[in-house]
C-alpha cells in the first residue's frame, strides 16, 4: 500500500463511519472483558438488529478508555445535529455519554435512549477531573478505535507517520526529530531515546561476532519490550490491547531510522489478549503492505515477530530479554557491551519500551517542538500511569510530565475512599520507593522522583492510605524480588532472601535493633553490587520506607523498646506496640503460602 492508497482507505473508512450517527464503544480491555463486556457488545448488536431501523448506529469493541474501576464501560458518541451526507460533516455537534457498570441486560435501555436523554442511572460524567485533567498522546486511540481493524487505525491517521518517514525523511532526520523532541525511555530509566537510536544507527554490525539464525536477513534489530511485570502495572498491556498498530508503526519508524529489517515484540504470555491483538495487527499490516518487504512502495522492508515471555520478571531487563529471545535462560549479563553495540545474536539492537514506541508516530506527525512543549525542562511529553490502590478511581491515566502527585491522587484519582487519610504513593513497582505525603506537591518527572528515593519506573502507581503497614509493603516487594531474582549473581539471589527474612522477623516481632542495622547494610550492598537493575533496585522499597516511616520499623523491634525509651511518650508507644506485636504473632502462626 502506498501513500495514495493509504489516504484513499482512510477517507473511505471515515466516510463509512460518518454515515453512522451513533457510535457505541464497548471496552473490551482485559478488565472490562473479565466483567463480561463482550456479552454487552453482543447484546447491543442484537438490540440494534432487532430494531431494524437502527442502522444509523454501530457497536464497536474498543481498547481501554482508562476508568477501569467503573467498568464495564460503554461510551455512546452521537451526532446531535444533521443527517449524514456524502462528505464528513465539519461542524457537527457531538455528544458523548459514558455509561458505567453496564450489564448485558442494560442493552435495550441504552439503545432506546440513543436519541433522547441518556440513561441517567448508568451515566457517569465525562467532565470529571479524571478525564479533563488528562493529556492523551499514547492513549489517544485507546477507547476510540477497534484494535482488531487496521482500517479503523488508518482512519484515525494511522501509518501516516511511517509513510512520511519513508517518503520524506532520511534516517538521520528521523533520529534528529526524536532527539529534538526530548523523548526519554518510558521503561523506567529514562534514557534519551534519540541518543539510543543514534547509537544503534552508527553501530557496526560486524564489530562483534554474530550468530543470526538462518532465515533472518537483518543485521540490526528493533525490540519492543512488552514484558511489563511490576505488580499493579498495566500501561503497556492497555496500549498493546487497545492500539496495537501504533506499536508496529513506531517499531517500523525506529527500524528505518537505525537500519534494521527485523523486529521482535517480547510480550508476557500472561497477556493473551495483547498477544492475540498484536498477532492480528501484524497479519493485517503485512496484508496491507505496511510490514514486510517494499513497505509503502519503497525499498524498505521490515518484519515483526512475537516472542512470549515464560513468566520471569527479570526478562524485562534488556540483556535477559535478548537471552530469552535467543532461546537461552533469561539471565542478564554485564554491560558494556550495551545492546546498541552488541545485542541480539551479537548484532546492534534497539530495545524500546511499548510506551516509548507508541510516542513515536505522533512526534513524527506533529513535530518535535509540539512534543517538547509538553512536560518539564528535562522530562518531555506525557506519562501513562496505572493508578491503583486506595484511591477512588483506579485505572489508566495519561498526564503531562511535571503534574503534581496531589493532582494525580486527589483530582484525577478522586482522593482516598472511606474517609481515610493519604499516607504514601508507591511508584516504580518493586524497583521504586514509597513517597510520603510531604512530597505530594512535587512535580512528577524523572529527576524529582529520583531525588525523593523513588523512580519513574514503567508507570505503576499504588496509592496507600493510613491503614497501610509500610513494613508489610516493603516485605511484599522484597518477597516479589526474591521470587523473581534469576539467581545468577549472589547479592541479589542470597541478599533478597536474607532481607526478606529480616523483614518477616520484624513483622513477627522477633527482630532487634541489630536486625535493622543488618538490613540497612544489606540494602546498601545489594544495591551497589548486584549485576542488573533487578538487584540494584530491589532494596529501594525498604530504603524508602526506612527513610520516611522508620518509626513503624522501630515500633516493631524489641517489643517497642527504643533507645530513647525514657520519655513518657515513647513508653506509651512502646506499650502500644507490644500489643501490636502480640496480635501479629498470633496472625503469623497461621500457615501462609510462603511458609515453606
Amino acid at each position: 500500500m502506498n501513500l495514495e492508497e493509504l489516504n484513499a482507505l482512510a477517507t473511505s473508512e471515515r466516510l463509512a463511519q460518518a454515515k453512522k450517527r451513533h457510535h457505541i464503544h464497548v471496552c473490551v480491555g482485559t478488565a472490562c472483558q473479565a466483567l463480561n463486556s463482550e456479552q454487552i457488545a453482543k447484546a447491543l448488536q442484537a438490540e440494534l438488529k432487532q430494531r431494524g431501523q437502527r442502522n444509523d448506529a454501530e457497536v464497536k469493541c474498543v481498547g481501554c478508555p482508562g476508568l477501569c474501576s467503573l467498568g464495564p464501560l460503554v461510551e455512546v458518541e452521537s451526532r446531535v445535529n444533521g443527517q449524514a451526507t456524502t462528505g464528513v460533516p465539519e461542524e457537527d455537534r457531538r455528544r458523548s455519554v459514558l455509561y458505567q457498570f453496564v450489564k448485558p441486560e442494560d442493552a435495550a435501555e441504552i439503545i432506546a435512549h440513543l436519541d433522547g436523554e441518556p440513561v441517567k442511572r448508568l451515566e457517569t460524567p465525562l467532565d470529571q477531573p479524571f478525564f479533563t485533567r488528562q493529556t492523551k498522546i499514547v492513549l489517544e486511540n485507546c477507547g476510540k478505535i477497534d484494535p482488531e481493524r487496521i482500517e479503523d487505525y488508518i482512519a484515525a491517521g494511522g501509518y501516516q507517520a511511517l509513510m512520511k518517514v519513508l517518503t520524506e525523511m532520511t534516517p538521520q532526520e528521523v533520529i534528529d526529530e526524536i532527539t529534538r523532541s526530548g523523548l526519554r525511555g518510558r521503561g523506567g530509566a529514562g534514557f534519551p531515546t534519540g541518543l539510543k537510536w543514534g547509537t544503534v544507527a552508527k553501530a557496526d554490525p560486524n564489530a562483534y561476532p554474530t550468530n543470526v539464525p538462518e532465515g533472518i536477513q537483518s543485521r540490526k534489530f528493533v525490540i519492543c519490550n512488552g514484558d511489563e511485570g511490576d505488580p499493579g502495572a498495566f500501561m503497556d498491556r492497555s496500549v498493546m490491547e487497545g492500539d496495537p498498530h501504533r506499536i508496529l508503526e513506531g517499531m517500523a519508524i525506529a527500524a528505518y531510522a537505525v537500519g534494521a529489517n527485523h523486529g521482535f515484540i517480547y510480550v508476557r504470555a500472561e497477556y493473551p489478549l495483547a498477544v492475540k491483538r498484536l498477532r492480528t495487527a501484524i497479519r493485517q499490516a503485512q496484508r496491507a503492505g505496511l510490514l514486510g518487504s517494499g513497505i509503502g512502495g519503497t525499498a524498505f522492508s521490515f518484519n515483526v515477530d512475537i516472542r512470549l515471555g515464560a513468566g520471569a520478571f527479570v526478562c524485562g531487563e534488556e540483556t535477559a530479554l535478548m537471552a530469552s529471545i535467543e532461546g537461552g535462560r533469561g539471565t542478564p549479563r554485564p554491560r558494556p557491551p550495551f545492546p546498541a553495540e552488541c545485542g541480539l545474536w551479537g548484532c546492534p539492537t534497539l530495545i524500546n519500551n511499548v510506551e516509548t514506541l507508541a510516542n513515536v508516530p505522533p512526534i513524527i506527525m506533529k513535530g518535535a517542538a509540539w512534543f517538547a512543549g509538553i512536560g518539564t525542562e528535562k522530562s518531555k511529553g506525557t506519562k501513562v500511569f496505572a493508578l491503583t490502590g486506595q484511591v477512588a478511581h483506579t485505572g489508566l491515566i495519561e498526564v503531562p510530565m511535571g503534574i503534581s502527585l496531589r493532582e494525580i491522587v486527589f483530582d484525577i484519582g478522586g482522593g482516598i475512599p472511606g474517609g481515610r487519610q493519604f499516607k504514601a504513593v508507591q511508584t516504580g513497582g518493586p524497583s521504586g520507593g514509597c513517597i510520603p505525603a510531604q512530597f505530594l506537591d512535587m512535580p512528577v518527572d524523572y529527576e524529582s522522583l529520583a531525588k525523593v528515593g523513588s523512580i519513574m519506573g514503567s508507570g505503576g502507581m499504588i496509592v496507600m492510605d493510613d491503614s497501610t503497614d509500610m513494613v508489610e509493603v516493603a516485605r511484599f516487594f522484597m518477597e516479589f524480588c526474591m521470587d523473581e531474582s534469576c539467581g545468577k549473581c549472589i547479592p541479589c539471589r542470597a541478599g533478597t532472601v536474607q532481607m526478606h527474612r529480616i523483614l518477616t522477623k520484624i513483622q513477627e516481632g522477633k527482630a532487634t535493633q541489630r536486625d535493622i542495622q543488618i538490613l540497612e547494610e544489606l540494602c546498601d550492598m545489594v544495591k551497589h553490587t548486584s549485576l542488573c537493575g533487578l538487584g540494584q533496585s530491589a532494596p529501594n522499597p525498604v530504603i524508602s520506607t526506612l527513610r520516611y516511616f522508620r518509626e513503624e520499623y522501630e515500633k516493631k523491634v524489641n517489643g517497642g523498646q527504643r533507645p530513647e525509651a525514657g520519655s513518657q511518650k515513647s513508653v506509651v508507644s512502646g506499650q502500644k506496640s507490644e500489643l501490636e506485636v502480640g496480635s501479629r504473632e498470633s496472625e503469623s502462626s497461621k500457615p501462609t503460602a510462603h511458609s515453606s
Binding site: P334, E484, C486, I490, H528, L531
Partner: protein, 237 residues
C-alpha cells in the same frame, strides 16, 4: 595497542583487549574471584571482583571490564572489603558449608575466600535448604548443599568439553545445577564422564566418588592448560 592504567596507585601496562582482572594478574595484584576460572568465559556473577574506577559511579566487575587508557582502579578499599565479606557470608548462610566435614576442606576456594576476607562469623540466618546429593554417576558425585551456583561446571562442560550436559534449572535461591533435562547424573545420555566439571568446581559440590573429608583436590589449572593446548597448540606444563 598497549594501555597504561593504575591499580591501587601502581602504574601498570596492559593490552587493550585485556580485562582489569587479567591486567592485575599480570602485575601480581590479587583481586578475589569465585566464578572466574582461567580457560572459561567470564560471566560477572559472583561480584567478588568488583572494583572502584575513578569517574564511574558504579562498581565494575574486573573480570568483564576492559582496561582503558588512564584508568584509575582501586581493588581493596574498605567499602569493597565490607561488600566482599557480606557476599561470602551470604554464600555460607545460603546452603550448607560446614568445612569440617567437607570433602574439599583445605582445597576450597570458598573457604580460602572466607579466610581472605576475615570472616569469623556469619551475621545472617543459615537457611539450610533440603537439597539432594547425586551419587548416581559411577565416578563422580554432586552435593547440591555445597554448590555456590558459580556455573563454572556449566561453562566447562559447554565450552571445553562441548557436551553442554550441565545447565541451571529454576531461578533465584531455588536455582539448581542439573544434567540434561534434570536426570540423575548416571542416567545422562550426553555426559562423557570427562570430569572437567569436577575440575572446575571451586567447592566440595562436585567430587570424585570415594573421596572423604579434605581429600578432594580439584585440578582447575588443567582447564586453562587444555584450552591453550586446543586453541593455540601450546603445551606448557
Amino acid at each position: 595497542m598497549p594501555r597504561t592504567l593504575t591499580i591501587n596507585g601502581q602504574e601498570i601496562s596492559a593490552r587493550s583487549d585485556q580485562t582489569i582482572l587479567e591486567a592485575a594478574q599480570d602485575a601480581n595484584i590479587r583481586i578475589p574471584t569465585l566464578c572466574h576460572l582461567d580457560g572459561l568465559t567470564d560471566v560477572g556473577a559472583c561480584r567478588m571482583c568488583l572494583v572502584e574506577v575513578t569517574g564511574s559511579n558504579k562498581l565494575l566487575p574486573a573480570c568483564t571490564t576492559r582496561v582503558q587508557e588512564g584508568m584509575e582502579v582501586r581493588t581493596d578499599t574498605e567499602r569493597l572489603r565490607a561488600y566482599r565479606r557480606q557476599i561470602i557470608e551470604l554464600l555460607f548462610a545460603e546452603r550448607n558449608h560446614v568445612c569440617a566435614v567437607c570433602v574439599a576442606n583445605g582445597h576450597c576456594e570458598l573457604q580460602n575466600a572466607a579466610i581472605a576476607v576475615g570472616m569469623d562469623h556469619v551475621r545472617y540466618d543459615y537457611i539450610f535448604p533440603r537439597l539432594s546429593v547425586d551419587l548416581s554417576h559411577e565416578r563422580f558425585g554432586m552435593d547440591h548443599n555445597r554448590c555456590i551456583l558459580c556455573t563454572r561446571c556449566v561453562r566447562a562442560c559447554d565450552q571445553l568439553e562441548g557436551a553442554h550436559t550441565i545447565d541451571v534449572m529454576g531461578r533465584g535461591a531455588k536455582s539448581l545445577i542439573i544434567r540434561d533435562m534434570n536426570v540423575p547424573w548416571g542416567e545422562s545420555t550426553t555426559c562423557t564422564s570427562c570430569g572437567k566439571c569436577v575440575m572446575a568446581c571451586p567447592t566440595g559440590a562436585l567430587f570424585k566418588q570415594g573421596s572423604t573429608v579434605a581429600e578432594m583436590v580439584h585440578d582447575a589449572e588443567k582447564l586453562a592448560f587444555l584450552k591453550a593446548a586446543r586453541e593455540r597448540k601450546v603445551w606448557n606444563v
